[in-house]
């Protein structure tokens, strides 16, 4: 199903690709969805890719990544068995694992898992077929394709991805783990689309991993729309461990209704260029969103966290804490936009970005941007950039701890302020382990799933059997 052509990512090429594959792309669309697709391609045609003149992209240069030759898979690969692709084994973590291979849902002949309590997890394409009334009100309704080229491009091309639906009042005990695996012998351009819908009072934990399995360059454009109904609670984790030649633009659009609560965590461990777009919109009062980020970059890696919180309703609270350690020639951007709209009285919005630069050549560009149209608000933002505390280093070394270990302890302590917020203990242990390995330069892009690395203190093996979910 994969076109053999290999091309740089350009507007012209993609517009052509769209025309050539038009019939295939719209085959699964309802009329409503088809109209949205047409709008999206028109918007992309207008926008093209952002360059350094584009607001919000000034400090992140995509030209190198876009300029490579890529293959463009417009259909799933042959592999249907997720377990042949990877095995995930966070000990004690009770998860339902959903796999995507090169952006395509891996079905193993069960495209949709439907539980007795109404939970639906599975292929977005299949869900469109079976439950269009659950999809149409949401898909493409929270992204802004008119101003966001990647959202537009994604909406124009994607025909599948993952759909998670938690009905009103259902609290999912199991976490859902969504794993995007990239495995390809040649350079590949990947787009995938996910939709997560939590009904009123629903509760869910989602662990969303982006991993690459081999060393070929890839470019991923992943868009996830997440709806939190009234009073819903979502604990959300994004883990990124890609190879050193891969680029990822990952956009999460959160839509919070009245009294909804979101806790989101971005743990970025590896990748050539990572851009996380996080959009949070409070669409009803008394919403609460906490967004944590941790990024550990070295070599010539680049990380760009863009966070936009739209306080469109009164009495909501948002908190952001992003912490990063940049080593060698790594560069980073933190772009935090808080918008407090005219009617959003009694808004609390806090933002903090803290960075450790381990070398003179590592750089961070931290840009808070507060846009406030209401007097009755509490807003704060802070940004610090520094080196490891020399007095602490001396103290640790004076107790016999070697310089390398002392640095490690301090870096881990710095990272721990974010890691310690991970509510699920087995997941926290695993991420602690990964962060330690990363700081010691031992974290590999494994042949198997990166989450497979053993944790000696918690050696329980846990295999996920999809047939039993």
């Amino acid at each position: 199903m994969e076109p053999s052509a290999s091309n740089p990512i350009t507007r012209e090429y993609l517009l052509n690709l769209f025309q050539e594959n038009y019939k295939k792309l719209i085959a699964g669309d309802t009329p409503v969805l088809q109209a949205r697709r047409e709008m999206a391609i028109a918007a992309f045609k207008k926008l093209g890719f952002p360059d350094k003149k584009t607001e919000d992209w000034r400090s992140t240069d995509l030209s190198g990544s876009l300029g490579l030759d890529y293959h463009y898979p417009l259909g799933p690969s042959e592999e249907k068995d997720l377990q042949k692709v990877f095995r995930c084994d966070i000990p004690h973590l009770d998860t339902a694992v959903i796999g995507q291979l090169n952006g395509w849902y891996v079905s193993k002949d069960v495209p949709l898992i439907e539980l007795g309590n109404g939970i639906i997890i599975g292929s977005l394409a299949e869900a469109i077929k079976k439950y269009p009334h659950l999809i149409e009100p949401h898909l493409g309704q929270y992204t802004n394709v008119e101003s966001n080229a990647f959202a537009a491009l994604n909406a124009a091309f994607t025909t599948d991805g993952t759909f998670i639906y938690i009905p009103d009042g259902v609290k999912s005990e199991k976490a859902v783990q969504l794993v995007n695996v990239i495995q390809h012998r040649e350079n590949i351009f990947i787009q995938s689309r996910n939709l997560v819908v939590l009904g009123k009072g629903a509760k869910l934990t989602v662990v969303h991993c982006d991993d690459s399995y081999d060393y070929q360059p890839s470019f991923s454009n992943i868009v996830t729309e997440i709806v939190l109904g009234e009073g819903a609670f979502l604990d959300h984790y994004k883990l990124q461990n890609l190879n050193n030649t891969s680029t990822l633009v990952s956009s999460n659009w959160f839509h919070l209704e009245k009294e909804a609560q979101l806790k989101s965590h971005y743990i970025s461990l590896n990748g050539a260029l990572l851009r996380n777009n996080t959009y949070v919109r409070f669409d009803g009062p008394f919403g609460d969103a906490t967004i944590y980020g941790l990024y550990l970059m070295d070599r010539k890696q680049h990380i760009d966290n863009y966070v936009a919180v739209d306080h469109a309703s009164p009495d909501c609270e948002s908190k952001e804490l992003f912490k990063g350690i940049l080593d060698e020639h790594a560069t980073g951007v933190f772009n935090g936009h808080i918008l407090v709209e005219r009617d959003a009285q009694r808004t609390n919005a806090y933002q903090n970005n803290r960075n450790l630069l381990l070398t003179d050549t590592a750089k961070i560009n931290s840009k808070p941007f507060l846009e406030i149209y209401n007097d009755d608000v509490k807003c704060s933002h802070g940004s610090t950039t520094g080196q490891l505390d020399e007095n602490a280093m001396f103290y640790l070394r004076q107790r016999g701890i070697g310089e390398d270990n002392a640095r490690m302890l301090l870096m881990f302590a710095f990272a721990d302020e974010v890691v310690s917020r991970i509510a699920i203990e087995p997941l926290r242990f695993r991420i602690e382990d990964m962060v330690k390995k990363r700081l010691q330069g031992e974290l590999q892009i494994c042949e198997q799933c990166v989450l497979h690395c053993s944790t000696p203190e918690h050696p329980v093996e846990f295999r996920i059997d999809l047939s039993k979910i």
């Binding site: 001396f394 004076q398 301090l410 302590a413």
Partner: protein
């Protein structure tokens, strides 16, 4: 001889602080160093411990006949030098347990010993806590974070008990302590004292020396040791004050 300092000169940012220190410490001895503020007591302690902000411009420090200048901070520590800090550093996010376990096991490794298991280590923590009369569960807290002044000083003595140094330099461990805490600190030192180790106690007040009886007392003034004597020198200083020293120089 455990420690032999000869004509030690050290400066920071081009400013000379130590201007020719001579000091000899043998195993089994307790030395007290006294002197007014800003005369270089902490600087001397830092230089022995190897803080690289200070530049040694002249003289030498021998420790167990080894030239300390060739050893890194951590190597000096592993060779048995311990510094009780005048201002213990707060390290958020590093737990006391993790900190001490790393320290103990790195020192053991340096000495060719196997690391302690988690069980052995925790047992040792409990024993040493008793020794310095720590009842609170400070072990799972971050290093010195949110500790009161007294807790920080006790924590220094606790760490000393854990690491069992050969040469312990205690820099104003008594400052700001009430009499109970002072007694605990002094008890800790007295219990850890053996014929095989030595203590250099830097203090401002004679008070501590009622609990820790020094073999020698030195007065440090403007970067030099200007007077040395027995424990009675401390009393004389207490009586006459530092002005007495200042007038003589």
């Amino acid at each position: 001889m455990l420690l032999k300092i000869t004509n030690l000169h050290a400066s920071i940012k081009g400013k000379e602080i130590l201007k020719g220190i001579d000091l000899e410490v043998n195993k089994g001895e307790i030395h007290a160093i006294m002197g007014p503020n800003g005369t270089g007591k902490s600087t001397l302690a830092s230089v022995i411990a190897g803080k690289d902000e200070f530049e040694v411009t002249e003289g030498e420090i021998l420790y167990n006949a080894k030239n300390l200048m060739t050893l890194s901070v951590e190597e000096r520590a592993r060779e048995g030098i311990f510094l009780g800090f005048q201002y213990p550093v707060e390290i958020p996010g590093v737990s006391m347990t993790n900190f001490m376990r790393t320290a103990v096991n790195e020192i053991r490794k340096y000495r060719g010993l196997d690391p302690l298991s988690a069980g052995e280590f925790l047992k040792m923590m409990e024993e040493k806590k008793k020794l310095v009369e720590i009842t609170s569960n400070l072990t799972n807290r971050s290093v010195n974070e949110g500790f009161s002044g007294g807790e920080k000083k006790r924590n220094e003595i606790f760490q000393m008990a854990m690491l069992e140094p050969t040469l312990a330099i205690l820099d104003e461990t008594d400052s700001g302590l009430d009499i109970d805490a002072l007694r605990v600190v002094a008890n800790g030192v007295n219990k850890l004292r053996t014929p095989e180790n030595a203590f250099v106690v830097i203090t401002h007040y004679q008070r501590l020396l009622e609990y820790i009886i020094p073999d020698f007392v030195h007065v440090l003034f403007e970067g030099r040791i200007v007077k040395s004597g027995g424990k009675e020198l401390a009393l004389e200083l207490e009586e006459k004050g530092y002005d007495w020293i200042k007038q003589q120089h």
